[in-house]
Structure formats: structure tokens, C-alpha cells
Amino acid sequence: MSGALFAEQLLNGLQFGVMLFVMAAGLTLVFGVMGLINLAHGSLYMLGAFACAAVAAATGSFVLGLAASLAAAAIAGVLVETLIIRHLYARDHLDQVIATFALILVFTEGTRWAFGSFPLYLNLPDALSGSVSLPGGITYPLFRLLIIGVGLAIAAGLFLLVNRTRLGMRIRAGESDREMIAALGVDIGRLYTIVFALGAALAGLAGALVGSVQAVQIGMGEPVLILAFVVIVVGGIGSITGAFVGAILVGVTDTLGRFLLPQAFGLIMDASSATSVGSALASMLIYVLMALVLVFRPTGLFGKPA
């Protein structure tokens, strides 16, 4: 194994991690501020990817597609929040899970009704495809570097938003005591809608970015949703910093596990069974990580003590 290969895998892990962060940020904000478990977050991710594919196909512009993914997911977020989710804040988590699960079914079949059952075409513009040479003899796909850049920029932007702006102050206040900030005259209903739309837009953007290198298809959101939940549990529910650290940790652990474990088993058994055992263990690795974090820090790495 060469150093360049290892470095490339680290970059892959980082890229996977920042993408998970964009997905998990919205989920953790919504849970932290409103105490809502939103299973339909993955549907907003799917919606973003489909909106991007449809607009990119109609206009030929990937940038317009990305804008459409943000807009479509944000609008869907506002509609879902005002029509349905708003009535669930006072209910217990089971009701929220059931209602948002129903939303998954509605979004899935609605998307099939609108776009058909076959995967859509969404590809990168020529300017963004291909690879670049990095120092150390690594050639790395340009678009993956771009995803790392966009992800880090979103992380920085969210950090500033939450810690340096008036809106961020209200979000933090809403997290710690929502009755009190309502009593202080903050329109809590509007704050909730804004936070939900922000989370939805981020999920939509993640869907569009990931969809352009993966597959734009029905049901693409649910596997990512599970990973996003792992991320926010590891990072501590409600914490943006936690979501960021958790996402990078999960991304790097998963990528390096898939890469190193089969090789490690290869030292003690034949190649075929080593890959089989190694990849089976690698797929469990992030859940092992989650269990370990919860053993030592039951509220996650950056969670507030219960």
C-alpha cells in the first residue's frame, strides 16, 4: 500500500464526511430547536436531486439545477412545516415518527407519479468532470474536491449563522428554552419555519450534489438518512459542531474501514474470504463507533448533559 493511495482514501473519507454533514446539519437543527424527529429529511434530499436533474435536463445548466434543488427543497420544507409538522411539536416522538414516515411514502410515490419509475439522468458539466493532479502523485476527481470545498464553506457559514447573527441567537435560545423566548416576543412559529426550510434546503443541495455523481432514483434518501442519524447521535443531538465532527469521523471511519479491513484480514486468511469477512465487518464499523461513543459519552461527543 502506497502513501498516495492512503492519502487518497483519507480525502475520500473527508469528502464523504462533509457530504454527510450537509445532510445531518438540517436534521440536527430541527431536532435541537424543535425537538422533532423528521424521518422525511431523506425525502427532501431526494426531492433536491430530482429537481436538479429535471431543471438541468430542461435548461442544460447545472448551476440552475443546483439553484432549483435549493428552492424546491426549501419550498417543500415550508409547506410540510406549516401544513403538517407544526401540529406535531406538542405530540410525543412516536406520533412524529409515524407522521413523518407517512410523508416518506407520500414523497416517494409522488415523485414516481411525477417522474416515472426509472432513474433520471444527471451528470456533471464538462468543466467540473475529470481529475486533477495533487501534490504527492495523487490524481483526484475535480468534483469531489469541489464537494469538499462546498461542504466546508457550508459548515463555516452555519457556524457563523448560529454563533454570530441575531437569527442564530434565537435558534440557540429556542434550543435551550422555547417557552421563554416566546414569552420574550419572538415569533416562534416563524422561527421554526425558517429553521425547517433551512434544513430542507441543505438536504436538497446535498441530494443534488451527490445525485450528480451517484444515482438519481426513487428511495435514494433513506440509506443516507440512516447515516445522518448515526452522525447526529455520535456528534450529540442538536449541536452543529457535533454534527460536523461526527460526520467527518463517520466518513473517515467508513471509508478507511472498507479499504483497510479486507487487507488486514488478507494477512491471516485467503483473499476471497478476507474480502468477504473484511467487508462485512467494515459495514458494521460506524455502528460500532456509535456504540463506543455512547458508552463513554451517552449524549454524544458535543451533546449537552441530560
Binding site: N123, P141, A215, T255, F259
Partner: protein
Amino acid sequence: MKSFTTTLAAAAVALTLAAPARAEPVTVGMITTLTGGGAGLGIDVRDGFMLAVKQAGNKDLNVFIEDDQRKPDVAVQLADKMIQENKVDVLTGIIWSNLAMAVVPAAVGQGKFYLSPNAGPSALAGKGCDKNYFNVAWQNDNLHEAAGAYANTTGYKKAFILAPNYPAGKDALTGFKRFFKGEVAGELYTQLGQTDYAAEIAQIKASGADTVFFFLPGGMGIAFTKQYAQSEVGLPLIGPAFSFDQGILGAVGEAALGVKNTSQWNKDIDNETNKAFVESFQAEYGRLPSLYASQGFDTANLLLSAMAKASVKDADAFRAALEAADFKSTRGAFKFGSNHHPVQDIYVREVVKEGDVITNKIIGTALKDHADAYAAECKM
């Protein structure tokens, strides 16, 4: 006058009774995947099947269609319901091997016929074969074996192979290695449903292989092919048709151009049945048929050919009529081996662009009259 009409009516009745007995009606239950991920495959099988039914215009054939949502438990419930309530004689439609394993043994155990338009798990081809189970598509290993044979004839010496970590994935790599004579430069099992292949592609680049064989059906294959093209590895790709069927190619786009894939069917197989099938499918549904659609179409025509020969109530005669496979297949000549799985040619196709449409073109034959590796274990 009245008596004349009565006489006429009586004569008509008598004539009807004297006419040869009408063929026994056949009720078919189709259980297939119509919603959720992977619905494209089930929809193609259904559409191909119903196209043949419509063209035949046979009033004695009733078809019940239900959606299994790709869930084994749902498929089992649907099969029970169809057998008990709808009194079906024949079941068909299942796409996925794990669902087939849940439904088929119980259905044939109750004396029903099962015609598989897709899934061909090795268990049902070998020791678990059954006299009432027919596979009209292929045994699961077939297309992968053909890919291995093709890699030999092209002169590849070191192959990097990868598939998802589940039974059909393991069958795929086993099937490839059964025929590939070169060296395996690397072997990887990915997670089922995985969509990011950066880590795997980095290893392919570092492996020193001269070709890559992969079995990643559905969205996994779309993601892999796009990412592989972007990373500019440049090694030739080989795969079974499942990652390059007509339903997927549109989503992969130009990244798939030039990829070689193995299939028992393609739209350019030169025979009258196939030409008519491709044209009428396009006219009916407004899209090109995939191999799944051809399998559905062939399944229905096999069933219709058996109905023309024997009554489904006479199970032995009906089985013999199915075994004869006396129908015009889109694949040209069609015959069953001793374990009721096809013995057929498997072709190599290349992904090409015809006008604006990305599609497949046959460039050669990988295996001729190929039967599966499990037939010898089948005692029926």
C-alpha cells in the same frame, strides 16, 4: 313463427354443445416489484408480459397483477392470497432471488406452476429444482460466466472484480471466476445499496489490473459507472447486462459508452419475433424495451403456447407442453435443459450511441448453447 325461433335457438344451443370443448381458462398471478427502488425492472417484466397477452387476445387467460414492494413477506402473502382467493393455476413475475426463494418452493409444493421471468437462484436450479418450476430468463450465474469467457477471448490477464456483499453478488464473482482463466488482481465485496465508490476506485487504480468486472445492479451500477468515468482510471469495464439495461442507460449517460456487457437478449437479435416485439413495445409504451421486458414477453408466450396444447387441469400434459417450449422467442431458438432452465447463447454487447439514444449493440457471442452449472444436481 314462435316455434321456428325456438327451434332455431335450440339448434344454436345444440351446435354450441357439439363444437369442440373450449380450452380450459388459465388464471395467472403475477407478483412483481412495481413501487420503491427497483420498480423499473418489475414494470418492464409486467409490460412485456401484458404486451404478449394483448397481442394473443386469448379470452381464456386471466392475469392478476400485484406489487410485492421488493419485500419477501409481502410476496409470500400475495402468493397465498392468489392461490386461495383467486385460485390461480400459474404464478410468475418475481424479480429478486430472495423473494423467489420465499415464494416458489411453497407454490410448487401446492401443485401450482411457477414461470420465472427473472430470478434464477442456484438453489432452484440444482438440488431444489422442481418439476413445476420453469425459468424463462437465465440461471443467476450465466451472464457472469459469459463475462469471464469474454475476458479470456479478449486476452485480459488480470481482472479486478467487485460485487455487493449478498448471495447474488457472491454467485456473480463465483460465476466469473468459474470461466476466467487469468489472475484475479483484486476482489471486493461492497455494501448492498452502497452509492459511493471512491474507496473502491482508488484500489482499482492501484491494483495493476488490466480489466474490471463488476456486478452492481440498479442504482449502484449507475453510481459506480459515473464515478469510474470521472476518475479517469481508463481500464476497460466488463459487466453483466443488469447494470446496462435500457432503463438504466439513460441515467448513466455517456459514461457508459464502450462498456462491454453480457446478455442473452438484445434488441438487435435478428429474427422476426424480436423485430416485431421491439417495434410493438415502443409503439405501446413509448420507450425501448429492456432485457427484462423481453423476458416478460417470452414468459407470456411460453404460457400461451402451452395453453394451446394442453389443459392446465391436466398437470402432466401441461408440464410436457411447457417443456417443449414450442413458442417463438425474442431470442430466436429457445429450449429448456433438464432442470427447466434455458440452454441458450449469451452475447457480448457494447454500449453505443444511436442518434441521441444510448443503447446496446451485439458485438459477439460469449458462450454458445450455454447451460448452467447446477443442472447435474437436479433430480426431478
